[in-house]
Amino acid sequence: MSDSQRQNYSQKEKESIFDKEFLPHIGPMYNFAYRLTFDDDDAKDLVQDTYLKAYRFITSFEQGTNAKAWLFRIMKNSFINDFRKKSKQPAKVDYQEVETFYNSDDVDKAITTDLRVETVQDMIGDEISNALNSLDVDFRTVIILCDLEGFKYDEMAKILDIPIGTVRSRLHRARNLLKEKLSDYANKMGYKN
């Protein structure tokens, strides 16, 4: 954002924006932070860090625009830049493989599933939650943003700094991986498919 686009808020306006537009999102922010870090203290730190940055750069925020998406973008960047380095996460996903997914023969494989609606509905929350948590963070993130938080593809693209096509292919792959995990679980537990 150029200087001319920066907002010129008074102290009172800043506090009002913070209270009315930023703080109401603390619930989803904490949930997202927890799903990224899997630790209560780290989640608290990440939320705190995100809000401090949001306030510091509040002049870049245009009142009335999508505060939730703006905050999620800051949190995602904070997590990548600070927390992920500390936690020594495993190697990143091979996105080339993901991005070419739609053009590959794997597309046809995706039309088969041994999961049934009844099987999924019989599962309790723990299975879904554990399966989601076991996904690589980049796949987990797109499912959280889309299915939990209801962001649209264009909003996710801005939050994640990736093209919309990549959002779609990553989401597609993430859902297939989630289904594989649930299917493995269902087979292990003897659910009848």
Binding site: I26, I111, L148
Partner: protein, 99 residues
């Protein structure tokens, strides 16, 4: 808008045996757009017609829909620590006072 990438449906291409037969790979691309409420009316119509006549897609769509719904209903409930909002405000506005 992303939906435009498949907005012009390829229902009459030379590789199709019959223009009335939906293209499976096209439907696969549309499945998530429909699931996420990102499809155009034309895309949704095309997909709906296909799903009605295609058992594998009917199953996949409804399994995906059930999973999406379960994810939303079971993974949202992390309670925010009661003191977190106050701690953040205290830190920010204490800093502002100093400035």
């Amino acid at each position: 808008m992303e939906s435009n990438s498949t907005g012009s449906l390829n229902t009459g291409g030379s590789d199709k045996k019959d223009s009335n037969q939906p293209d499976h790979s096209e439907c696969l691309k549309l499945l998530h757009l429909v699931l996420d409420d990102e499809a155009t009316a034309e895309q949704k119509d095309y997909f709906d017609k296909h799903v009605c006549n295609c058992m594998p897609y009917y199953e996949i769509y409804h399994v995906d829909k059930a999973i999406k719904s379960l994810v939303k209903n079971t993974c949202c409930g992390k309670n925010v620590p009661a003191d977190l909002a106050d701690a953040i405000k205290e830190q920010i506005f204490r800093g502002t006072d100093k400035a």
